[in-house]
């Protein structure tokens, strides 16, 4: 437990005194270790520790709080600040509103699209979902089954070209009286140029109000590579982190946030249709610190 470790480090400087570069050196090393074990990208961890050090140096240690507690409080506050101080909510951008979801293979996009549609329906809107994943075996069946099981309108299209499916889905918004259209895309690698080009074409046709990057909450150091690749190619404006019902520390959130500055909007917390929670920076900060 990080707090206990830091308490031990600071036994020697209880009471009066200032936090100095010398006496916090070990604490910072322990914190860096904790962040790396939590899957925070090592470059991000390095920058983060530097900002904690800046905040900590020269800070007075009062009787009411131990140095260890003070450092943990600074770390906690810095984490919350980096993860996004105020809960950023999805801004409604008029009707009909178009969402496109993207990400690496297996991150949870199809399941998340269904969850989002359900979330909008519970909030009184009329969502329609469509898939342009013409590659993965039974990918479109998967979304169709999820939609049917949860009374969500599913756009049927027998084209096998992602761009034309997208174009037809947009035309179908009015006929279906939908006010939200959610488009599921195939998982792809940021280094697969052909697939990234395709994603770019689909995005151009959709001209979506929101492009959401769906990332697996258990992702390690590679989180940074993936988001940089997707940002360069198509840009996105929000992130959904999935599978956080696991015991993963989820440091990828910090890396993604630090590198892209994009808000984390939701977290996936299970396979059920309701398992989509709003992202709370302060709860998440505690999770990362373990």
């Amino acid at each position: 437990e990080l707090t206990d470790k830091l308490e031990a480090v600071f036994k020697s400087i209880r009471g009066h005194g200032k936090l100095t570069e010398q006496n916090i050196k070990h604490a910072l090393r322990d914190i860096r270790r904790a962040l790396l074990e939590a899957d925070v990208n090592f470059k991000v961890a390095k920058h983060f520790i530097e900002s904690v050090q800046d905040k900590a140096l020269g800070t007075e240690v009062f009787e009411s709080i131990t140095p260890g507690q003070l450092i943990v409080k600074i770390v906690h506050d810095e984490l919350i600040k980096l993860l996004g101080e105020k809960d950023v909510r999805l801004q409604i951008k008029g009707s009909p509103e178009i969402f496109m979801v993207c990400g690496l293979q297996g991150s949870g996009k199809t399941t998340t699209i269904a969850k989002l549609a359900h979330y909008f329906r519970k909030n009184g809107r009329n969502p329609m979902v469509s898939s342009v994943d013409v590659y993965r075996p039974a990918a479109i069946d998967q979304l169709r089954v999820l939609a049917r099981n949860n009374k969500i309108t599913f756009f049927e299209c027998d084209s096998d070209d992602p761009v034309s499916i997208a174009a037809k889905a947009i035309e179908a918004i009015n006929t279906n009286d939908a006010d939200v259209l959610l488009i599921d895309t195939a998982g792809r690698l940021h280094i697969d140029n052909a697939m990234m080009e395709e994603l770019s074409k689909v995005r151009n046709i959709l001209n979506p109000h929101h492009v959401l990057f769906v990332a697996d909450g258990m992702t390690g150091q590679d989180a940074v590579n993936a988001v940089e690749g997707f940002i360069d190619f198509i840009d996105f404006d929000g992130v959904i982190l999935t599978k956080l019902d696991s015991d993963t520390r989820g440091g990828a959130a910090l890396s993604i946030r630090h590198v892209t500055g994009k808000p984390i909007l939701f977290v996936g917390t299970g396979e059920r249709i309701e398992a989509l929670d709003v992202f709370y920076p302060d709860r998440y900060a505690s999770r990362i610190l373990g």
């Binding site: 690698l189 940021h190 993936a226 696991s246 993963t248």
Partner: protein
């Protein structure tokens, strides 16, 4: 990255440490390997060896100590392979690739769709069975995974099928109920043949960070994993966490996934894997 003739300095060790972290080796393995470089600084600085060789030798030695588990030298028939792992790692796709491999070797293969939970999971596996020209069995309406597994073994015995591969639903190692469900499938397999399952393959995603070690630990405790398949190595993730998994749990990495096509499966090669860590 680690040129021959490089001298051990603190800056150089920092660079090495960063490269190891970047490959997802994790704190424990990275610190261990950096210590190795410090220990042998004398030999390195005098040119007797170089940093790259020292690291490579340490890693290969760890990989070498993985035990060959669970593969009987006497091949049973049907040879039963249980495939498990958390959600979305590539189990179903890997089974499709594995099925083709066995078919190309002349074996008859039956794929059992024991993921009775996820939307279109059965349809997905059925398409893979067609691609690999393998037999396929799925649940009777509402049947549970264990009974599908049992039916699969019965069918394989009746038809003298060589290999049965069992697809299971993705599940978190943190879900007690779902892990118990897997143990039940395993028990049912053991009833039909006390040496079954002959292989229990844990599929891990190369993009997963330190949680992969926890996954391997829990799945191994509950099911006695005979080998690991590391998927998505065609991406930029290096999967270095498997070094710690092999070191701590002694489970061998048997196969790697390098793409989404039916041919994108390779035997794990310690040398090329280790070289790729530093690429």
């Amino acid at each position: 990255l680690l040129p021959f003739g490089a001298t051990i300095t603190d800056d150089m060790l920092d660079e090495v440490e960063e490269a190891l972290y970047e490959a997802d080796l994790g704190v424990h393995a990275s610190e261990f390997l950096v210590e190795k470089l410090r220990d042998r600084a004398g030999e390195i600085n005098s040119g007797k060896t170089d940093p790259y060789t020292v690291m490579k030798e340490s890693i290969l030695s760890i990989i070498d100590h993985a035990k060959e588990k669970g593969t009987p030298t006497e091949k049973s028939r049907p040879y039963i392979i249980l495939v498990v792992g958390v959600n979305g790692v590539g189990k179903t796709t890997t089974i499709g690739k594995l099925a083709l491999r066995y078919k190309n070797e002349g074996s008859s293969v039956l794929l059992a769709a024991c993921d009775t939970f996820r939307a279109a999971a059965v349809d997905q596996l059925e398409i893979w069975a067609k691609r690999a020209n393998a037999e396929f069995i799925k649940a009777q309406e509402g049947a549970d995974p264990a009974s599908v597994a049992y039916d699969a073994i019965m069918r394989a015995k009746a038809r003298s099928t060589d290999v049965v591969i069992i697809d299971t639903a993705g599940r978190l190692h943190t879900s007690r109920n779902l892990m118990e469900e897997l143990k039940k499938i395993r028990r049912v397999l053991g009833k039909s043949d006390e040496s079954a399952p002959h292989e229990t393959l844990l599929v891990l995603d190369a993009t997963t960070g330190q949680n992969a070690l926890t996954q391997a630990d829990v799945f191994n405790r509950d099911l006695n994993i005979s080998g690991i398949v590391l998927t998505k190595l065609d991406g930029t993730a290096k999967g270095g966490i498997v070094i710690s998994i092999i070191d701590k749990l002694k489970i061998p990495i048997k196969l790697i996934g390098i793409g989404e096509g039916v041919d994108d499966l390779r035997d794990f090669d310690p040398e090329s894997f280790t070289e790729a860590l530093f690429a």
